[in-house]
């Protein structure tokens, strides 16, 4: 049975989730810079899975919470979502969900292997440079090691925070470790010796499988143990606060919670100092920086957090934010609320009876505070860094390559490492390389689903007739998108609706279209017209990422070419102005104008790609 579901009902279902046994095929309309052909995704229970085309040329699976996905797409990216709900039972939903989870792990493992192979080649090149008495061609970087100066007493050390107590906590860690029978300095020397031994062996006999990954992991462990052994304070710019921000002040509950979390963290670091398990070095480095931040927090009576911005975080220059003061202020208010909520959660999760470190709660405080501090920087006219979705302090720092006495096998090892890296890249390209017709966001969704359902039926996915039958038995039909027009997201949605057992469809309008409809309903059609231009729309403030245009054309089908022509003229005008302003804005306005012209051209042929985007959502809960 096919029925149209009420929009409000489905919006509610999408926001809240409807349990595991839901399979929604999602088609996202296009917008500027976000897939001109639109995008496709699959919602399974509370999670949305979709494949993204990366700048590297590969296609990679992403998973997002359904509510966050819908908010991002509709409220921020201003895109309409079309939903087709496919009837499935619990078992089928579980099979599909597990298949996508497996694919997530496989993609992550491939990416990790790629990084490890590149790191291994860099390491071997550094060993050769050390043999030849030269500087390494590229530094050997270890995540989170850059939070600390390379040696105690370095001029970059967090002098003001050190004066406020940072560093003292690490001496506590060392004492607690000693009480467990672990001499941190001796452990550090032993790990350094292990690193040197491995390097020697690889230089003489060639690098064994996994050499690079193991070496970097041990190098991080050595760096962490060095920091503990010297009770080294973090770098001055690795800890951050804002003395002018009253909302960062600690209350009594927080003061007690900070002491409890600090005590638990010191205990965990002392235990980790004895561990050789993978990831221990990063945990030690991040944990040591957090102990210092908590000590500084207690001493100052205001929150001090570790800088969690990624090394390659996008930096937005002040001139691009000049028109966004109101939106930034709203976002900063929201960040204050987020921070307050995170602080309450941290207090609640750090109970005297529980010695565990509430790492997730602490990281949430850290993330909200960093977001707030970056927004404050933007409001103050300074460059603003953009945080990652899930930020953990990771500032990379260089470690020294050990010198090797016997490097007979080094040249061969370097050649072999380069071959392995090239082979892996070729394998990734063959298995994950984006191809608009053969491997895109649509084809991969169907590939994963079809293979999972075939295997669940005990059928080889390569046995096409049997695999089709297995899929049809579960989904009520079969959709073949490979190589045909079905690779286009909106066509694939039509095929899903036509061929599978779809129990309901709905359209979730973009934020602007929803606003326009509300205005039309409340104030009439004439009032709704003001939502059709950038200059008069109540709900739209030009986003620095948007091109220059005047008319929204996504709901003006008949008039689209005419409005597109006007947009083309506006884009051309902005480009001319941009030429004059290029020396002052580094060509930003010129680029916006040229992009405005580019995205006006399809409108002349009745195709609307650009819809405008939003910097924030004042209506978000």
């Amino acid at each position: 049975m096919r029925a149209s579901l009420a929009l409000a009902w489905l919006a509610l279902v999408l926001a809240r989730g409807a349990g595991a046994a839901t399979l929604d095929y999602l088609h996202l309309e296009a917008n500027e810079g976000m897939a001109a052909g639109g995008h496709a995704a699959l919602r399974i229970g509370l999670a949305v899975f979709h494949f993204e085309h990366e700048p590297s040329g590969l296609i990679r699976l992403e998973r997002e919470p359904a509510a966050a996905f819908e908010h991002r797409v509709r409220a921020l990216e201003n895109r309409t979502i079309h939903v087709a709900r496919i009837a499935v039972d619990d078992a089928t939903a579980a099979v599909v969900r597990d298949a996508f989870t497996d694919r997530l792990r496989a993609d992550a493992a491939d990416a990790a292997a790629e990084r490890a192979l590149a790191g291994e080649r860099r390491l071997l090149l550094a060993l050769r440079a050390a043999r030849d008495g030269a500087s390494p061609p590229q530094p050997l970087l270890v995540p989170a090691a850059g939070l600390f100066p390379p040696a105690a007493g370095d001029a970059d050390a967090a002098d003001e925070f050190a004066a406020a107590g940072a560093g003292g906590g690490l001496a506590d860690v060392r004492r607690r470790a000693a009480a467990r029978g672990v001499d941190v300095a001796q452990r550090a020397r032993a790990v350094h010796a292990r690193l040197a031994r491995w390097a020697e062996t690889a230089s003489r006999d060639g690098a064994p499988d996994g050499f690079g990954a193991r070496w970097y992991d041990a190098a991080a462990l050595a760096a962490g143990l060095d920091v503990l052994a010297a009770a080294r304070a973090p770098r001055a710019d690795a800890l951050r606060t804002d003395a002018g921000l009253a909302s960062l002040a600690l209350d009594d509950d927080e003061r007690a919670a900070v002491a409890r979390v600090r005590g638990a963290l010191v205990g965990r670091l002392a235990a980790l100092a004895a561990s050789d398990a993978p990831g221990t070095g990063t945990a030690l480095l991040v944990g040591a920086a957090r102990v210092a931040a908590l000590d500084a927090t207690a001493a100052r009576g205001r929150w001090v957090v570790v800088d969690d911005l990624a090394d390659d975080a996008r930096v937005v220059p002040p001139h691009r934010l000049a028109r966004e003061h109101d939106a930034l202020a709203r976002l900063a208010d929201r960040a204050v609320d987020d921070l307050a909520r995170a602080r309450r959660a941290l207090v609640a999760s750090s109970q005297p009876s529980d010695a565990a470190v509430p790492e997730v709660a602490l990281q949430e405080v850290e993330a909200a505070a960093n977001r707030l501090l970056e927004l404050r920087a933007g409001l103050a006219g300074r460059p603003m860094r953009l945080p990652a979705a899930l930020a953990v302090p990771s500032r990379a720092g260089p470690v020294a390559a050990p010198s090797v006495a016997d490097a007979r096998g080094l040249d061969a090892a370097i050649a072999a490492a380069a071959r392995r890296e090239a082979d892996h890249a070729a394998m990734l390209q063959a298995r994950r390389g984006y191809d608009v017709l053969r491997r895109n966001c649509v084809t991969e969704l169907f590939r994963v689903v079809d293979a999972a359902l075939a295997r669940a039926a005990g059928v080889d996915p390569a046995d096409a007739p049997a695999a089709r039958a297995a899929v049809a038995a579960r989904l009520g039909g079969y959709v073949d998108v490979a190589g045909g027009p079905g690779v286009v997201p909106f066509v694939s949605r039509a095929l899903v609706e036509r061929r599978l057992d779809v129990v309901g469809t709905a359209t979730l309008p973009s934020r602007r279209l929803a606003t326009r409809e509300r205005v039309r309903h409340e104030d009439g059609a004439l009032a709704a017209l003001r939502e059709d231009t950038v200059l008069t729309a109540d709900a739209y403030e030009p986003n620095p990422d948007d091109s220059t245009f005047l008319f929204f054309t996504d709901d003006a089908v008949v008039a689209r070419p005419l409005l597109g022509a006007a947009n083309l003229v506006v884009g051309a005008g902005a480009s001319v102005v941009g030429i004059a302003t290029a020396p002052f804005d580094r060509g930003d306005r010129l680029l916006e104008g040229l992009r405005g012209m580019l995205f006006s051209v399809p409108e002349l042929a009745f195709v609307s790609l650009r819809k405008g985007t939003y910097l924030d959502d004042p209506g978000a809960p």
Partner: protein
């Protein structure tokens, strides 16, 4: 046929525009990172959406982490994996969830226990896994057992 022809034309137009598909975030940013401004500055999914603020409540993030550990361990058990791979994979998985100290995180071991059950481990094999994976840590073992018992 009509829909096919239109789609083919659109695909050609997209290719002609040079705009590749399936990008869901802005590609116009000026740095190596393609993260769009708006997605970066709003809080991502609320970590509190399915939890209370009371002590001991599992947040959505922790639940997701535990579920991913469970699924990994179930797959690892079925593939007869190596212990070294097991630890490295847990470390990588935790990192993707913003957790650095995977060894000290209770949800790691709850997830491991749940994964053993999902992977079909029982009887003597279960006791062997619990003993080896806990490395004589009573807290880990208890959490694994609890995760195993709670898994449907």
């Amino acid at each position: 046929m009509g829909i096919h022809r239109s789609a083919a034309l659109l695909a050609a137009a997209v290719a002609a525009l040079g705009a590749s598909g399936c990008i869901s975030e802005s590609s116009w940013s000026s740095s190596a990172s393609s993260k769009s401004i708006q997605s970066s500055l709003e809080s991502s999914s609320s970590p509190f959406e399915s939890s209370s603020e009371s002590s001991g409540a599992e947040t959505a993030r922790e639940a997701n982490y535990r579920a991913d550990v469970r699924d990994y361990v179930a797959a690892w058990v079925k593939s007869g994996g190596q212990y070294a791979d097991f630890q490295q994979s847990l470390a990588d998985l935790a990192q993707r969830h913003g957790i650095t100290d995977w060894q000290g995180n209770r949800y790691t071991w709850l997830g491991v226990g749940a994964g053993l059950r999902k992977g079909g481990v029982q009887g003597v094999a279960l006791q062997t896994y619990l003993k080896n994976l806990s490395e004589n840590d009573v807290t880990r073992r208890e959490a694994m057992q609890k995760g195993y018992d709670e898994q449907q």
